[in-house]
């Protein structure tokens, strides 16, 4: 797989844009999934995933081919997601009133520290609820949890993607898991 990807990368570096399409083809679903779970919104996920591929393309010559391409790509994407989450926070209050009227789908699109009323939670479908609970996690725990439990990546790889020491990754996963446990204690 890595040899295959590196061959494509070598072509891209030579200027073959079509070879990059094959790379996008290979990683689109996983990358999109990370973005979607991080952001909780389809449009934003698509936007950020595309942005991540675009940056990977522009900076492809800086990629060290001895390393794993997916790690490098996911790192670009998670950084973009975290940036997006942090930028979104200020206009969070603007949405507050709209959200009540728009129903549940809007909730999952916003990093949310508030707990929804109990009866609304019960009405949620499981998939909706999962995304909602992930979205409530602080962004630094969220990235670790998504990579660990949605992408099912080894801790060593997560530590490389997030550019954090292994110990820190473990702590974040522990805390993220603990936070989720508390959020779900009524389940």
């Amino acid at each position: 797989m890595d040899a295959l990807v590196n061959k494509r990368i070598a072509k891209v570096i030579k200027g073959d844009q079509d070879a990059f399409a094959e790379i996008v083809e290979l990683y689109q679903h996983q990358l999109y999934q990370i973005c979607y779970r991080m952001l909780g919104n389809k449009h934003e996920a698509e936007d950020i995933a595309q942005e991540a591929f675009m940056r990977a393309y522009v900076n492809i010559h800086t990629f060290d081919q001895k390393r794993k391409f997916s790690t490098w790509l996911y790192r670009i994407a998670t950084n973009l997601c975290i940036d997006r989450i942090r930028k979104k926070k200020p206009d969070y209050h603007l949405d507050a009133e709209v959200r009540g009227a728009e129903g549940l789908n809007m909730y999952s699109s916003i990093a949310n520290d508030d707990q929804l009323p109990e009866d609304e939670l019960v009405k949620m479908e499981v998939q909706e609820r999962v995304q909602y609970e992930i979205s409530r996690l602080p962004d630094k725990y969220r990235a670790a949890i998504v990579l660990k439990y949605i992408e099912e990546l080894p801790l060593a790889e997560i530590s490389e993607i997030l550019d954090l020491p292994l110990g820190t990754v473990k702590t974040r996963i522990h805390r993220g898991r603990e936070a989720l446990r508390k959020q779900l204690s009524n389940l």
Partner: protein
């Protein structure tokens, strides 16, 4: 309600990550067997993991690849031409050769509509006709463009007439006689001469005068 010791919660987390030492694992298991709160936490943690992992697999929307490719910076597209050249070196060389040759040839052919001829001593010009007079001996080649050539005397060399006529007469020519009237003849002649010139590039006797 007593709270479970932090280190037990830490053990649980390490255990869930799959890196708890066997000795600590024993401690954890003993604890779980005796402490209901610990059991509850442990059970909830497992439920939490199962819950997160129940998240369905998400796929990128249809057309994602195309949309992404369309977003890539366009200036890189320019290298498409470069890539083509790299992939077809022979065709590229042929194309460049053809373009340059035709440029040279056609410009030569079109621009040199003027009457001109190779400067040689003893040669007489009458209107657009170059004459080697009777009794004269010319040594060397003669090229006449857009004019005629008449040899009444002796010419020790080749004759080339472009867009004109070589008028046969009583003269003596020791070299070859060539008349060129058409573009393609001219083209062929130029290519032929190109090779000849390349062979004797420093031997330039073909000094032209324009009139």
């Amino acid at each position: 309600m007593k709270t479970c010791p932090d280190y037990i919660v830490q053990y649980m987390n390490d255990y869930l990550d799959g890196d708890l030492e066997p000795s600590k694992e024993r401690v954890l298991k003993e604890n779980l067997a005796t402490c209901q709160d610990c059991q509850k936490i442990y059970h909830e943690l497992n439920k939490t993991i199962a819950f997160v992992q129940s998240a369905s697999h998400i796929e990128a929307p249809k057309g994602f690849v195309e949309a992404t490719m369309n977003k890539l910076p366009k200036q890189k597209q320019r290298s498409g031409a470069q890539r083509w050249f790299k992939q077809h070196p022979l065709l590229t060389a042929a194309a460049i050769f053809f373009v340059m040759m035709s440029a040279v040839l056609f410009s030569d052919f079109n621009n040199e509509q003027q009457f001109s001829f190779t400067k040689q001593p003893n040669v007489v010009v009458e209107g657009n006709t170059v004459i080697v007079p009777e009794g004269e001996v010319v040594t060397g080649d003669i090229t006449v463009r857009n004019g005629d050539l008449r040899v009444d005397g002796e010419l020790h060399g080749d004759v080339t007439v472009v867009n004109g006529q070589y008028m046969a007469s009583s003269g003596v020519i020791t070299g070859e006689v060539e008349e060129i009237d058409q573009v393609f003849d001219w083209l062929w002649y130029t290519i032929k001469n190109g090779f000849k010139d390349a062979a004797s590039i420093f031997n330039n006797e073909d000094a032209m005068i324009g009139e």
